[in-house]
Amino acid sequence: MATSLDQENRPLAHDSDPTQTIVETRNLGKVYRDFWGRKKVQALKSLDLEVRRGEIFGLLGPNGSGKSTTIKLMLGLLFPTQGRVFVFGKEATDVSKNERIGYLPEESYLYKFLNAEETLDFYGRLFDIPADVRRQRIESLIKMVKLEHARRRQLKEYSKGMTRRIGLAQALINEPEFLVLDEPTTGLDPLGTRDMKDLILRLRDEGKTILMCSHQLADVQDVCDRVAILHQGELKELGRVDSLLKIQDLTEIHASGLTDEAKNQIREIIEKSGGKLDRMDNPTTTMEDLFLEIVKESEQRPGRRGGRGGN
């Protein structure tokens, strides 16, 4: 019988293909203890998972499920009490791995007395980036996160959304291969959320690997390729989003331009073939799509009210 120690010491997944696994946890566990060493809470229990190159991996779970603990263990902010975690094949406590990582913490913990330029310059220096490259990246990142108008304002004057955007810019200053995003859409308005999701997808398309954890299930569903669902420190589900969400014995048909007669014929066919029609109706759009459409129209034709919903 394989013991947990055997599991921890087995060859790395990336040993067979070192380019394909970015993060690997083995039997990873974390117990928080009090000052006297007494066990307070077991935040994570025997977690085994891999994050593969080029994917967007989502960590899902309610509060206290162990998402943040997992991320902190991966980043070396916490040390495991059980098992091991490898990032780029190196122990998570190895500082050199950080050269290839970008991290957006949950609340953009940045120095409030710095302005946007100073913030990016500071973090750029921490990556030992030469001055000319740093200047170039600061310019393009400030443009990318749309903070040109506020580049010289201290962060303490920033709104939550702006803070989030400068936080994202600092996470990208080193052009990382692996991006860790903790609640990336928190505090963003729907437009900002959409921008953030588009950006995440674009970064994935550029070849970056992204690990994100979020409470916003819709966001996770929109962008993640694979997800892991944690609850009470345990891994409950792991797999591709599309296959996890697929309901095998339910069929969905989207059609337009059908007459009532055609709809009745469809109902008859379903009954004849022994199936059961659960629902046939006009679908509603999502609130996000509606909001985005209204904003878009408003930008094109300012001063006019939409009038979709009657009153």
Binding site: K72, V95, S96, N98, Y103, P105, Y109, F113, D128
Partner: protein
Amino acid sequence: MRLNPDHFWTYSEWLFERNALRDGAVLSVTLALLGFVVGYIVSVFKYGPSEGFLRVSQIIGQLFTVDLPKLSFRRIFAMAKLAVKESIRKKILVLIGIFIVAMMFAGWYLDPDADSPARLYLVFVLTATNYLVILLGLFISCFSIPADIKSRTIYTITTKPVRPLEIFLGRVFGFTAIGTLVLATMGLLSYVFVVRGLDHNHELVSMDPTDKSGESSYNNRHRHTFTLNSEGRGTTNEVKGHRHIVTKVGDKVVIGSPIDDLTARIPIYAKGLEFTGRDGEKNEGYNVGYMSEYQKYIEGDSLSRAVWRFEGVQPTLFRDVILYDLTISAFRTYKGDIVTPVGGLIHFRSTDGKVKSEDEPFKVKEFQVDRRSVRTKLKGFKQDATGKDIATDLDFFQDIAPNGSFEVVVRCQDRGQYLGMAAADIYLRPADLQFWWNFVKGYISIWLQMFIVICFGVMFSTFLSGPVAIIATVAALVLGFFGFFVDNLVTTTSKGGGPIESLIRLPTQMGSQIEMELGNETLQNAIATADRGILLAVSQLKNAVPNFSQLDTSNFVAYGYNLFGGLLARHLTIAFGYFVLTALVSYFFLKTREMAA
């Protein structure tokens, strides 16, 4: 101010002969071993014996293989710059404003009747600066890292390729830079305050045309008298620690700005001081009953003498006159004429005693520096072949000190009175250093103290919260201040034994004067050995905290002595030692600390 023998040690003498290097090495090894043992014990609890050993070894190994070689100056500079910005945005520079306000009101409290206003002004500015800057260092260094941990900004630092040492170095360099800025500004303001505060002028009040003597006006609560020479030049008498140059220009007598109040004497001290008793035999000097054994005494009107031996004095340092300062005290066994000071005689002689100058009488100026001089062409005596003294003209450096070595002999004239002196109570003054440079050196001393405080503050803040780090830093400084007490415990055979023996004696109410009787000799021997070990370890460990009373050199500046380069170099070395020590301790705490815990 008293100059102690250790002030005169040269840098190499201190490092090698006085065992500073050896003590430093012993301390380093002791702390390294202690750190390893403590680290291992903690690791054993966390990971078990073998894994624990591996982890501790890994951390030590990584220091030399990865963390030191991969230090990045760009990262350190970034962290330092951040620390500077943080301090400035937290309005640390307000401290300079407080200092200016303190100086504005200082004039109200500085005693205008003081004997030496220069000393008073200098002690005030140096002490005020010292305390303010140390407090500044204490507060900025102790709160920064804990604040980063509390606000979690540390997450964005430690998730970058930042090495633990870079966090420490960045903080220390940044805070030192801001401290230097504050200190330099305070230094400049202090200099202007002192120089302007002491500057004053006198007018001529009366002049006697016959003997060309005169009297100045009464300004700044004093007046001077003077006598001009045939060329119409002269200096006033010394009042309140200064004189004025007086020159006659045409019919007008001009009294210049004060001189000698802000000086930096470069003393050449004697290599040794010997005494002879009232019978002419060598002794250790008389003790007149003071607890302090700093000065020893010679008896008046007897064969009792004090003989200082100078060596290697270069003739090129002096032209026609050899200036020397005398600070001798008197002890009266009877009151006598209290207004007339006790008198003495002084002469210079060759080391073989065959050539000597004439005796020159002097009156003791108690609590003051008696500024004296002897001409290089002087009258004296040479012994002939029969041993008889023949009066003759002498050249100081040809006859008395042909190889730069000579002796100074002092006698007390008054029967029943005593003159007290120590090795440092006479020194030659070849030339004075520029006062401003000595002033700068005094501030370098303060800077070193601030630097050490910052190192300790940052070190404690790597594993303690801000307020606790402040208490720990202050405790370390206080411990260092009482280091002499630990030395006494270890070096003297104190009654009642060491800590373990004392612990047994206290509850059993066993007096400290009687031998401890436990009825078991082996146990008693074991306790005595353990006590010796503990005391030895404590005496080594007390070197781990800085002794600020030793590092304080403000008196050199205030009392107008050149701050010896060797002394400053020693202090620099000590500061560097503490810097390395605190850097290593911080490294281990930052390396093993869970930042998100």
